[in-house]
């Protein structure tokens, strides 16, 4: 009986409440969006100001100086930084994927002694600040192999598995039902064929996620290039060069912001293209424990 009464009364009250909630939630949403987006807006507006106006308190440009972007682009070294960053991020990503896939597969699917210990060590390595081992690594690459002033000390280790990628990919491979693998084995596939023919096609989203994260990590890396490339401007990457760019043009906020926009742009475009992989990757590391 009470149910009938509720059904009669509910619609109007509920609709009313729903509208209020809709307004409330979206005003909060817009406020939050402003916090996340306004920095990009001011960044962009300053990047098209004139040299003089960039030094004032003005928030919007009087004249739109698109030429700032050309000026930044033609700054000596800028193209070299691009080439180096693409080399580091591109080659590093390919090597990481090639070397991490078999390890993640073994950790997810093989039963062997020391598997738990290996996994513990992978996680420890993942949590290790790079500064902990940087002194011996620097001495090894710079003094023993004489590779300082190049990006090779950053790229070569990527050919030997990356702890974060191994961990993330293992989490992903655990979600593939064992039955698919058993079926492949019953059909007489060896482990290599099973991995290549059955697992890899199903693991594409996981592989996309580690590739994306590895690419971002290399693109954004500052510490690595600072240690190995800082003495040789021909080996600087965008992240490292950008900071010194500010140093060299320390009064020109407009040019510095234009350069900042140019360094952010590829990452943002890549994110729009690969949003699904990003969400999948973040969720896997955090939730599917």
């Amino acid at each position: 009986m009470t149910e009938v009464a509720v059904v009669v009364h509910k619609p109007r009250v509920v609709r009313h409440k729903a509208v209020l909630q809709w307004i409330g939630v979206h005003s909060l949403g817009v406020a939050a969006a402003l916090f996340f987006v306004l920095p990009f807006v001011f960044l962009f507006l300053t990047s098209v100001m004139s040299d003089q106006q960039a030094l004032t308190r003005d928030l919007t440009p009087d004249t739109w100086e698109w030429g700032n972007y050309a000026k930044v682009w033609n700054t000596p070294g800028f193209l070299t930084w691009w080439r180096n960053t693409l080399l580091y991020a591109g080659l590093g990503t390919v090597l990481t994927v090639l070397s991490s896939v078999p390890v993640a597969y073994a950790l997810a699917r093989f039963r062997f002694r020391g598997r738990r210990l290996s996994l513990l060590l992978v996680i420890s390595m993942m949590m290790l600040p790079p500064q902990v081992v940087v002194i011996p690594m620097y001495l090894f690459w710079a003094k023993q192999l004489d590779l300082s002033g190049t990006l090779w000390p950053l790229i070569i280790p990527m050919a030997f598995g990356d702890a974060f990628s191994i961990f993330l990919l293992r989490q992903f491979l655990l979600t593939i039902p064992e039955e698919y693998l058993d079926a492949a084995r019953v059909d007489g596939c060896g482990e290599v064929r099973t991995l290549l023919r059955v697992v890899l096609p199903m693991a594409k989203p996981g592989i996309a996620a580690i590739a994306l994260f590895q690419f971002f990590a290399a693109w954004n890396d500052y510490f690595g290039p600072q240690i190995y490339a800082s003495d040789n401007p021909a080996a600087w990457t965008l992240s490292y060069g950008l900071e010194s760019f500010k140093g060299a043009h320390h009064t020109n906020w407009n040019l510095t912001m234009a350069a900042t926009v140019l360094v952010m742009a590829p990452v943002i475009v890549l994110f729009f293209l690969a949003q699904k992989a990003f969400v999948e990757g973040v969720t896997l590391t955090g939730v599917k424990g």
């Binding site: 939630v25 949403g29 939050a32 969006a33 996340f36 920095p39 990009f40 960044l43 300053t46 308190r57 928030l59 390890v103 597969y105 073994a106 950790l107 997810a108 093989f110 062997f112 738990r116 290996s118 996994l119 992978v122 996680i123 390595m125 949590m127 600040p129 790079p130 902990v132 940087v134 002194i135 011996p136 690594m137 001495l139 050919a159 030997f160 598995g161 655990l174 954004n220 500052y222 510490f223 240690i227 401007p233 600087w236 992240s239 500010k246 140093g247 510095t256 912001m257 360094v263 952010m264 943002i268 994110f271 729009f272 949003q275 990003f278 969400v279 973040v282 969720t283 955090g286 424990g289």
Partner: protein
């Protein structure tokens, strides 16, 4: 005899197969983790500048770092400050944004994209942008604060405000936590909310008694990984300090880190300063080992409290 032989051969084959699949990481672990870690321990007991061979000097570096090295204790204090404020604010804010987005029914995709974007902005670029935005005299933030009659802090140029400024920058990049919390919130069983609603529980009571207990493992995960991020915090405080101090030139070897007044100094910066600015590799290795001990203690907490990280799939 004839029965055991094929079995043993099979076992050997399977061990070889495991070794083959694991080999990239076995090499990587030995060369880029075990060997340098042991070397760091060894160098921490030697006087070493990278040119003359290392000389054993016992606990000399250790007592030097803990008593006389002027950068060590400020960096440790800053780490503690940033752990409490930055991790706390990020978790609360990330959860709030996650909740908000699960309540929004229309345009979720657009909101999620806008909220995630800053997380991906390269740290150097994001930091440069914030040094500009928070510029005390002409930056847009202080211009806006001034316009509505609020006080205008010195942000990155004031030792009392530089860590809050870094915290605002970290809040801007909260997109990763938002995604994790969103996934966790969507996993909370709907029936529990419906049952509570029938019992007449209000919104706060539902959050307190259903949402929080359900997502508490994720909150712990976010706190622990947040602490680890603070241990590794390097690029943002360094770039913010250098750029606000107006340091010119690339390598910055002459830069006294932590501007203003060591307020943005972190332990990784101390390792860099000791090793690559002062060429005191022994002291740098001591600081590196302190960093190692802290990180591993936090990691151990993560794995103890959340065995799932390992157990899954066993």
């Amino acid at each position: 005899m004839t029965g055991t032989h094929p079995l043993r051969a099979k076992r050997r084959r399977s061990a070889l197969r495991t070794a083959a699949f694991m080999s990239p990481w076995l090499i990587g672990f030995s060369f880029f983790f075990a060997y340098p870690l042991l070397s760091t321990v060894y160098f921490s007991f030697t006087r070493y500048d990278g040119f003359r061979p290392p000389v054993f000097n016992g606990l000399g570096n250790w007592t030097y770092v803990f008593t006389d090295y002027p950068l060590f204790w400020p960096a440790l204090w800053n780490t503690l400050w940033l752990v409490v404020a930055m991790v706390g604010c990020r978790v609360v804010f990330g959860l709030g944004i996650g909740l908000l987005i699960t309540k929004i029914k229309t345009g979720t995709g657009i909101y999620r994209t806008l909220f995630s974007l800053p997380y991906l902005a390269p740290p150097v670029a994001g930091t440069l942008a914030f040094v500009f935005l928070l510029n005390p005299g002409t930056g847009p933030v202080n211009v806006l604060l001034d316009a509505v009659g609020l006080p205008t802090p010195g942000w990155f140029t004031d030792a009392d405000w530089s860590k809050p400024a870094l915290t605002v920058l970290a809040l801007w990049g909260v997109g990763d936590l938002m995604v994790i919390f969103m996934a966790a919130l969507l996993d909370v069983p709907k029936e529990q909310y419906e049952a509570a609603e029938l019992d007449g529980a209000g919104a706060w009571s539902r959050f307190r008694h259903i949402t929080l207990p359900n997502i508490s493992p994720i909150i712990l995960f976010a706190v622990v990984t947040g602490v680890i991020q603070v241990m590794q915090y390097y690029t943002q405080p360094l770039v913010a300090g250098k750029v606000s101090a107006g340091v010119i030139g690339g390598s910055g070897r002459q830069f006294e880190p932590g501007y203003p007044d060591k307020s943005t100094l972190t332990l990784p910066q101390v390792v860099y300063n000791a090793g690559f600015q002062r060429f005191d590799y022994g002291a740098a290795c001591v600081v590196a080992l302190v960093l190692f001990a802290l990180s591993m203690a936090v990691t151990a907490l993560l794995m103890r409290r959340r065995g799932g990280l390992i157990e899954a799939g066993d």
